[in-house]
């Protein structure tokens, strides 16, 4: 009976919404009436309509690029804090890293518009320095802007798990690597990096899974060519009044994310037998 309260809580918050989406995806919408006869029509449309495929592919590409950029930028920061910051200063550094999060997500996205815009901070700065003649346009209202904005937004989520993995590495292992004849760089490659991989995989999942479902950033900075699958799902639910189609697209997106996430977990287990 003790387990029932948390279980009920979990069911209400997780299983019921998921189940509802799943159920909806097999129904159809006929203008104002919801037809509850089970059908695969939504999935057929998702498969046949090229726009959905395009949006899904773009979402995967953008999320992938965000993930790669975020993790590659987060690793050196996590490494620096873990290996080069004095132990008593580490909490302070982690605290400072989270400071951008004190402002709302929406405000940060708008700030990126200010930075990346046609007359934005970046362009006026560069032209002021005489480095460019006319403003750069490839940095706002397209996929690049989405990648930059999301990579910045998710940086701490990538830094923290990598930092934790690095902190857990017994420093005598690195000395053992040196002692057994390897240079600092090779010791990093053969000891530090493999042992940090659980943190890297965690960071990949933490960044990849939410970014693929993000619709605020693409809406605000993505322009027409930066829209993602979640924008379409939102449109189906709120504008086209076609909840079943939106639900079907959501299920498809979740399926892709699950397959990719499981792939990462499997890779981690298979090739990086790190057991603590």
């Amino acid at each position: 009976m003790l387990i029932s309260a948390p279980a009920l809580y979990a069911i209400l918050l997780l299983a019921v919404p998921l189940g509802a989406i799943f159920l909806f995806s097999f129904w159809t919408q006929d203008y104002l009436t919801l037809i509850t006869t089970p059908t695969l029509a939504n999935y057929q449309e998702a498969w046949n309509e090229p726009l959905y495929g395009l949006l899904l592919r773009r979402s995967l590409m953008i999320s992938g690029a965000v993930t790669v950029a975020t993790v590659l930028l987060a690793f050196p920061i996590a490494y620096f804090v873990s290996f080069h910051v004095r132990p008593e200063r580490k909490s302070l550094w982690l605290f400072l890293i989270t400071i951008p999060f004190w402002t709302s997500y929406l405000i940060r996205v708008f700030l990126w518009k200010v930075i990346l815009g046609y007359n934005g901070v970046l362009n006026s700065g560069l032209s002021g320095l005489g480095l460019i003649d006319e403003p750069l346009t490839f940095i706002l209202y397209n996929a690049n802007a989405v990648v930059i904005t999301l990579a910045h937004a998710f940086a701490p989520f990538a830094i923290l798990p990598i930092f934790v993995a690095l902190e857990r590495i017994d420093r005598s292992l690195l000395e053992a690597g040196r002692d057994l004849g390897e240079t600092k760089l090779m010791t990093f490659w053969r000891v530090t990096l493999p042992l940090a991989m659980p943190g890297v995989v965690a960071a990949v999942l933490i960044v990849f899974i939410p970014t693929i479902g993000d619709y605020v950033t693409p809406r605000l900075v993505g322009g027409p060519n930066g829209l993602m699958i979640a924008n379409m799902i939102q449109t189906q639910f709120l504008k086209l009044n076609n909840a079943p189609m939106g639900a079907a697209l959501a299920v498809v997106a979740m399926l892709f994310v699950s397959v990719i996430a499981l792939g990462f977990v499997w890779l981690n287990r298979k090739f990086l037998r790190v057991k603590q």
Partner: protein, 362 residues
């Protein structure tokens, strides 16, 4: 034997204001089993890490098989280390751990496998190559760490308190095995330990360190019987210190020891140098014995009272008070058949041999 394989001269190490190594002068011969012994914080591990290349000496020279090691990183030194934590790579299995350092040796896969198998056999882990690192016991981890270092055939093997994490039985077994292994491979072993018994059992020579300084370097028997300072004597085993007055009488030193009486000491009984006036004289507990009724005694005797008795099974230790001396002295007796164990408060006659005495300047 050619010149020393390791030679340290005037080595100093500072951490900020803290003087961790003071004026280290030390030569270690090839093939020697050498121990650095001392209480925690005495600098023994710093000295070992300086030899390995993890610490740079602030001053002085370190020669390793004739080469100056100044600025040489650990990966370029002919030393390998067994770490206190063993530092077994958790992402590699046993064979991969042992083969870690062989990458640059230009061996074929088959040659590498053969070397790894040979090293594992040497430490008694045949067939463990495929084991995951986390599936090993403490003793097995230590053997893997040994194999991983020995497979590279270093000139010097450095061991940083390798037995401190093992339980007593395992530790005693490994002490014997390490000694046997060292004789078998003939490599110079340098062992860091705070356990004086371990150092005595295993080493050819021992350097005793206090507060960054080497107090004495000697073979185990010399160290035990003829410690140069009272600090060394006190750290190695148990030593009774008794106040005495000393004066020269030709070659020998005549002493008057509180509670024991007169004794004449030969020059070799003053390993720290001859001293006169107010001194201390030391004697080990096993060099004093109780005299039971009917026993014939050749040595000098004294009257005492048993203050405390400690029964160990094979031995009994007694604290006995000499007449007119406040501080009791400790003696030990083997519990052989027919020998009684005295109770507290019992009168006891003790016998001691003046040849067992050591003189320390006060």
């Amino acid at each position: 034997m050619s010149g020393p394989i390791i030679s340290l001269s005037g080595v100093q190490k500072y951490y900020g204001d803290y003087h961790a190594l003071r004026d280290i002068e030390l030569d270690i011969a090839e093939g020697e089993f050498f121990s650095l012994l001392g209480p925690s914080g005495c600098g023994k591990t710093t000295l070992l890490r300086t030899i390995a290349g993890f610490e740079d000496a602030s001053d002085g020279a370190l020669m390793l098989s004739g080469r100056d090691m100044k600025g040489v990183p650990p990966n370029k030194r002919p030393t390998n280390m067994v770490f206190q934590s063993y530092a077994i790579f958790p992402h590699l299995n046993v064979a991969e751990n042992v083969a870690f350092g062989l990458r640059k040796h230009g061996l074929s896969a088959a040659q590498k496998d053969a070397k790894v198998a040979e090293a594992l056999a040497m430490v008694g882990l045949e067939g463990y190559g495929g084991r995951a690192a986390h599936a090993l016991s403490g003793g097995q981890r230590q053997r893997v760490a040994l194999a991983r270092a020995l497979v590279l055939q270093p000139k010097v093997l450095l061991l940083d308190e390798p037995l401190s994490a093992l339980d007593k039985k395992m530790r005693e077994q490994m002490q014997g095995e390490l000694r046997r292994l060292q004789r078998q491979v003939g490599i110079t072993f340098i062992l860091v330990t705070h356990d004086q018994e371990e150092a005595l059992i295993m080493s050819d020579r021992i350097a005793v360190m206090f507060e960054g300084r080497i107090a004495q370097v000697a073979a185990p028997q010399t160290l035990y019987r003829r410690p140069e300072t009272s600090q060394v004597a006190d750290f190695i085993g148990v030593m009774n210190f008794m106040p005495a007055t000393a004066q020269m009488a030709g070659e020998s030193v005549e002493t008057e020891i509180a509670g024991l009486g007169k004794a004449s000491l030969a020059p070799d009984q003053c390993p720290g140098g001859v001293a006169t006036g107010a001194v201390h004289v030391g004697i080990r507990p096993e060099m004093i014995s109780l005299v039971f009724e009917g026993e014939e005694v050749k040595a000098a005797t004294a009257k005492t009272t048993v203050v405390e008795q400690y029964y160990y099974g094979d031995m009994t230790y007694y604290d006995v008070a000499l007449e007119g001396v406040e501080k009791p002295i400790t003696l030990s007796m083997k519990n052989i058949v027919g020998r009684p164990v005295l109770e507290r408060g019992a009168p006891a006659r003790i016998a001691w041999d003046p040849r067992a005495l050591v003189l320390f300047s006060a």
